[in-house]
């Protein structure tokens, strides 16, 4: 995945190369491999040892393309080309042709931030139905087919689990 830190010209290509087990990983940033040991991690942040140095990062507001983190007390904005929306869309059946399936299901667990449609609305395949927040990141869930919104099964601010029913589109 490609990353760019605002105010710095350089861009970074980064990925996990190998899971060594015991929370040890090899990651690659540009051409250099690093050892990374995760001490602790949750949706609020991560503590880790990169090579031999301890770091602490807080994950603040995230969108699929922009991350606000505080690394060792230094606030940094990172832009990434993640295509998360597309991945979610694809897994909802959006990429397949002629999907006859009625229900739109959530591909990720998260909190419902907003609902973009009302029952009875006509939607086109790819229209945003709702926005979920997961790991402080907002991801839109899009209609997997053309049709009319028959029913909405979620409420704003409620939590949904992976596989939960979001809406019926007929």
């Amino acid at each position: 995945m490609d990353y760019k830190i605002s105010d710095i010209e350089k861009s970074f290509d980064g990925k996990i190369v190998k899971n060594l087990g015991n929370n040890d990983y090899i990651i690659k940033i540009n051409d250099n491999e690093h050892k990374l040991k995760i001490i602790n991690m949750n949706s609020g942040g991560i503590e880790f040892i990169l090579d031999q140095k301890y770091h602490q990062a807080k994950y603040l507001e995230q969108s699929t393309n922009e991350m606000n983190i505080v690394i060792d007390n230094v606030p940094i904005v990172i832009n990434r080309h993640s295509h998360f929306d597309e991945v979610v869309y694809k897994h909802s059946g959006g990429a397949g042709a002629g999907n006859a399936q009625l229900s739109l299901k959530s591909q990720i667990p998260g909190k419902v931030v907003s609902i973009a449609v009302a029952e009875g609305d006509s939607v086109k395949k790819g229209d945003v139905i709702c926005t979920l927040e997961s790991m402080k990141m907002q991801v839109s869930v899009k209609a997997h087919k053309d049709g009319v919104v028959k029913s909405i099964k979620i409420k704003e601010t409620a939590s949904v689990a992976k596989g939960d029913h979001i809406a019926d589109i007929e």
């Binding site: 710095i8 940033i29 990169l50 770091h55 994950y59 995230q62 940094i76 997961s134 790991m135 596989g163």
Partner: protein, 495 residues
């Protein structure tokens, strides 16, 4: 004996006073506005009373309401802190009338200190040098002209009703003076409906050096050394230190004697501060007396080993000073950084709002006076000062590097702070060498250097930041692709 003190203030200074009172077994009464019901001083005091709306005029400046609380709570003394009612002689008089001890100077002395012209006259009489200029208001442009020629250009034309850069002009010759006299007059009239102008010599590359003074009700007076507060923005202090790099023992004693004389000239009691400008040629000129406990008092506590709030209470109780000047010795070096909620890059505009998380530095010889706690709010109604970070060292260099370490440890989420600027300043060669002046920020382009430092800091942290982003992204991807809901253990979900 004072047994119950009402603190007519909020924020860190209210906490500061409460702390000493608690240590001495004195009960405390907090007051709070609508904005402050969840503030730390309310939680720390023995009792807390609501006194009105958020706007200071409707709460912390409401003398009648505060008096009501003092009477009904049975407080026998009031500590005004700084700001708000601290230098309001009407309030001091109101307390005197109601037999409540005002912890500070008498109302009359405070009134004299607050009246710049009368105070200056008192100092001249006591042979304390003041900034050369007109002895009082000038009646017209001609008089201003003759004074300017006496003391020499450049001079400042100041309206006594001005402030914040309005009603003030720097002039360098006769023509500019005549023109400036007109503008200052009209600016002052349009702002407050009247004009009263004084002429003062303009001093370049000045340092702001002040002396802590203490005088008891029996006329014993001492100074508790100097503080240099030259690093300022818009006439507000940002960083203070003691001792000053340009004050040696001979100067300290010599100016210290003037300070004692100044305190006598206005019959000052309790703790106060005599402020001086030091010209580049080494001359000291008295500017004013701050008739209160000052924001930057902790650095003087650090080098004197005294608790100033305790000293204030003792003096207010009528006790004589427990030491003479010759007993007092300065120990080490101390620096204070005022941690403000403001955006350095928006001309220090206030930055307010919730503070979900905060990490307060600590350790040997690190002191942080603050009202912050995780989950608190920085209110737009009050001062932007959130915390005072002070460090002590046996040498100046030790206090400086200790301050840098403490600044690095300080984390305040949610608002912009002056911390990054202080790191740039404390790392600069000019600061290390003590090349201080009130125009320090501008003279050494500190804001531009801060921009550069912030960029370098980001470059320095970029690999770690990318590592954190990679883990976040990979984990998120795995949540979409695998069934992550079954496991609460995030760490094992990356592949």
């Amino acid at each position: 004996m004072i047994e119950k003190v009402l603190i007519a203030n909020r924020g860190e200074i209210a906490l500061r006073v409460i702390r000493t009172c608690k240590a001495l077994g004195i009960k405390t009464v907090a007051v709070y506005s609508d904005e402050d019901y969840n503030s730390m001083h309310v939680k720390q005091a023995s009792e807390a009373y609501h006194i009105g709306e958020a706007a200071p005029a409707k709460s912390y400046l409401n003398q009648e309401k505060i008096l009501d609380v003092m009477l009904s709570a049975g407080a026998d003394a009031v500590h005004p802190g700084y700001g708000f009612l601290s230098e309001n002689d009407d309030f001091a008089r109101l307390c005197e009338k109601n037999k409540i001890t005002f912890i500070g100077p008498s109302a009359d002395s405070m009134n004299l200190c607050g009246d710049k012209m009368r105070c200056k006259a008192a100092m001249l009489k006591a042979q304390v040098p003041t900034v050369p200029g007109s002895p009082g208001l000038v009646k017209d442009a001609d008089e201003a002209l003759s004074i300017a020629n006496d003391i020499g250009y450049p001079v400042l034309l100041k309206s006594v009703y001005g402030g914040g850069g309005r009603g003030i002009r720097l002039v360098t010759n006769d023509n500019e003076l005549l023109e400036g006299f007109e503008t200052v007059t009209s600016e002052s009239i349009s702002a407050v409906g009247k004009s009263a102008i004084i002429v003062e010599k303009f001093l370049e590359k000045t340092r702001h050096i002040e002396y802590q003074m203490a005088r008891d009700q029996h006329g014993n007076a001492v100074h508790l050394f100097e503080r240099e507060c030259s690093i300022q923005r818009r006439n507000q202090k940002l960083i203070e230190q003691t001792p000053s790099p340009v004050v040696d023992q001979e100067t300290r004693d010599r100016i210290g004697e003037l300070v004692v004389r100044a305190s006598e000239a206005v019959d000052y009691t309790n703790l106060g501060t005599a402020e001086f400008l030091r010209a580049d040629n080494g001359e000291f000129y008295f500017i004013e007396i701050n008739a209160r406990l000052q924001v930057e008092h902790p650095i003087s506590e650090m080098v004197s080993g005294l608790d100033f709030v305790k000293l204030q209470l003792d003096i207010a109780n009528g006790e004589p000073l427990p030491f003479k000047q010759s007993d007092l010795k300065m120990n080490g070096y101390a620096i204070e950084c005022r941690i403000n909620a403001e955006d350095t890059f928006l001309d220090f505009a206030p930055s307010t709002g919730p503070v979900p998380d905060v990490v307060i530095p600590s350790g040997p010889s690190v002191r942080c006076d603050t009202y912050l706690y995780p989950g608190c709010t920085v209110s737009p109604f009050y001062d932007s000062l959130m915390a005072k970070l002070c460090t002590w060292g046996q040498t100046f260099e030790e206090s400086r590097t200790r301050m840098l370490a403490a600044l690095n440890d300080f984390y305040i989420q949610g608002v912009e702070t002056s911390i990054p600027l202080y790191k740039t300043i404390l790392n600069s060669e000019e600061y290390k060498k003590g090349e201080l002046s009130t125009d320090f920020l501008k003279r050494f382009s500190m804001i531009d250097r801060l921009t550069e430092d912030l960029k370098n800091e980001k470059i320095d942290k970029s690999e770690a930041a990318i590592a954190a982003a990679i883990v976040h992204s990979e984990y998120f991807k795995s949540r979409i692709q695998n069934d992550a809901s079954a496991s609460a253990n995030w760490k094992n979900k990356l592949d």
